[in-house]
């Protein structure tokens, strides 16, 4: 199992890199972008769990992101609640709303679910935008505190915020990893593959879907909460459809239904979109086609493409070995080289 060892070292390598990164650069812009990217990743993992593993494409996730962010904003700024209490409450609020919305939304399927949640997301945005009294309306909320210190740790500095957010990201990845590689994860994938069959196998699909939905909104809400205390100002825009589309774009480019997809996609797109800044007004002129081409040529995202490439290589190797060994033996066997675990993973 050389591949596994390999994988483990790669992962540890990345974590190490993330850990020492603040020491490698003095550029607070880069750190800022990276921190923000971590926040997006958390939300994308939420989306991935639902859309990638369970097959329900939610377009309301910017809404839940905003609910998390606004809950924290309102609880800290307006109510004056203790930071970590507000943090927890915000997550709970997001989950409760997620539960309520999920209960109705999950009655619909496929495109209907997608557009239904699109509308739900838009309603959330509108409510935030119009409910001046609570949310500050178009003005937004200002003065959201940084996370309160925990023991000797304080989160005033960008570096410490970076580590805090990295911590939550790693936690998210660990959780998602464990869920995906468990009976529950299999259950979700089963629902994605065929809900009807899952049901006749005795799986309470609604309960499971609801669980993923709530969990997925929890991650979106967590990202929102972190965003609010990182940017420290929030406006209704963070709940707008464009944010959902951004998240979706990160997910799809990275590879939907894969574990590494959200990280790869987010980093790549954030990086590309920052690098194209020099084009100014015409940034989208390049970015749009780039995105479209990526989708056409790497429909399974970067990670999917990587797996495919790996499998092909293995297959070739095997074929070559086969041909070498016994020139005309068991050709049919070559057909059955498992091309498994391409879609999930």
């Amino acid at each position: 199992m050389a591949a596994l060892v390999n994988r483990r070292t790669v992962i540890s390598g990345f974590i190490l890199l993330a850990l020492v990164f603040p020491f490698l650069t003095k550029n607070s812009y880069v750190l800022h972008i990276l921190t923000l990217a971590f926040i997006w990743m958390i939300a994308v993992y939420g989306l991935n769990l639902l859309a990638g593993y369970t097959g329900y494409l939610s377009l309301a996730h910017a809404g839940f992101f905003a609910i998390g962010a606004y809950s924290l904003g309102i609880l800290t700024v307006k109510v004056g609640m203790n930071y970590w209490l507000a943090f927890l409450s915000s997550l709970i609020i997001t989950c409760i709303l997620g539960l309520l919305i999920g209960l109705i939304a999950l009655r619909t399927k496929e495109h209907f679910f997608a557009i239904y949640t699109l509308c739900v997301g838009y309603i959330i945005y509108l409510v935030i935008d119009k409910w001046d009294g609570l949310t500050g309306g178009v003005r937004g909320l200002i003065g959201i505190p940084v996370p309160a210190g925990v023991g000797p740790l304080s989160f005033e500095e960008p570096q410490s915020q970076y580590y805090l957010i990295l911590f939550f990201l790693l936690l998210t990845v660990l959780m998602v990893y464990r869920i995906v590689h468990s009976l529950s994860g299999r259950t979700f994938i089963a629902i994605r593959n065929s809900e009807e069959l899952a049901k006749t196998l005795g799986i309470a699909t609604m309960k499971n879907k609801l669980m993923v939905f709530v969990l997925s909104t929890l991650f979106a809400g967590l990202a929102g909460v972190l965003y609010a205390s990182f940017i420290r100002f929030i406006g209704p825009d963070i709940g707008y459809i464009t944010i959902t589309f951004d998240l979706l774009m990160y997910l799809l480019v990275g590879g939907i239904g894969t574990l590494a997809g959200p990280i790869v996609g987010t980093i790549l797109i954030v990086w590309v979109s920052q690098s194209l800044q020099f084009l100014q007004d015409f940034r989208m002129l390049i970015f749009g086609p780039l995105l479209t081409l990526l989708i056409i040529f790497y429909p399974r995202g970067i990670i999917g493409a990587f797996y495919e490439w790996k499998i092909k290589r293995q297959e070739k190797k095997r074929m070559r070995a086969l041909i070498k060994k016994h020139k005309d033996a068991e050709f049919s066997d070559a057909n059955s080289v498992p091309d498994k675990k391409v879609k999930e993973g």
Partner: protein, 254 residues
């Protein structure tokens, strides 16, 4: 009574697909349902398994009225089924398919998964063992690593059996298990069904392959236009004039 339906009726708009059908399964035997296309056989299955809810009538399983239960609850009670068009988790491996089949007998939650609790580990291996056992039973150990979409039609049929068996059922409903496979392979499936009965599992199947049905079934029900027109042993059915006219035709045992 093991499993019985009482005056089961299902209407789709103006069409009565299943009309006042009362039928009881013989425990530990092979029960068959035959009838012309569109007679309502699959619909009858859907009603029993909870995929559709009947317009009127009842389904009783071991003295419990299960008419209104959702499919997953019915599966939990020990009633499994397969579909007419073989329905598998195409994107997963055969083994993964079958592992999920035992999910309903486990209780671990998301929290167990995240915390990797004892229960999680226990149930995880329980499901795997079950899957391996069932795959062995249907004779698919060799292909357990392949994607379900990549195996042959006959293997798919067997996986469907395995999936149903993985739920630890007392009775399985098989919808045209031998459709689209050749006589040789049909033979194999018939053997498998017998093996299931030997294990104490009651079988109820829909088939058009008369040769096989007549050899295999202990009891046959014939549906026509949603109505039960006959019920009995293969011999009785084969000689039933109504059945011959409606369904079997001249070369009944072709």
């Amino acid at each position: 009574m093991f499993l019985e339906t009482k005056a089961l009726t299902k209407q789709f708009g103006g069409l009565i697909a299943v009309n006042d059908v009362s039928f009881s399964l013989e425990k530990g035997k092979i029960n068959a349902i035959i009838g012309p296309n569109g007679a309502g056989k699959s619909t009858f299955f859907n009603l029993v398994s909870g995929s559709h809810s009947p317009t009127s009538g009842q389904v009783i399983f071991k003295d419990q009225n299960i008419t209104k239960l959702p499919p997953n609850k019915i599966a939990e009670l020990g009633i499994a089924r397969t579909f007419q068009t073989t329905n598998l988790f195409e994107q997963s491996t055969v083994l993964d398919n079958v592992i999920v089949g035992h999910r309903l007998r486990t209780n671990s939650t998301l929290l167990d998964a995240v915390l990797r609790t004892k229960r999680f580990k226990r149930e995880e291996s329980k499901c795997k063992e079950k899957a391996i056992e069932v795959l062995d039973f249907v004779g698919l150990t060799a292909v357990s690593d392949q994607l379900a979409s990549n195996i042959t039609q006959e293997e798919k049929k067997r996986v469907a059996f395995a999936l149903a068996l993985a739920t630890d059922p007392e009775v399985v409903f098989l919808d045209e298990p031998a459709a689209g496979i050749n006589p040789d392979e049909t033979e194999g499936l018939a053997e498998l069904m017998k093996k299931m009965v030997d294990r104490g599992i009651t079988v109820c199947l829909i088939e058009h392959k008369m040769q096989m049905i007549m050899k295999l079934a202990d009891k046959i029900m014939v549906l026509n236009y949603g109505e039960k027109i006959a019920e009995g042993t293969p011999e009785e059915i084969m000689n039933n004039q109504m059945v011959i006219e409606a369904y079997l035709g001249g070369s009944a045992s072709a």
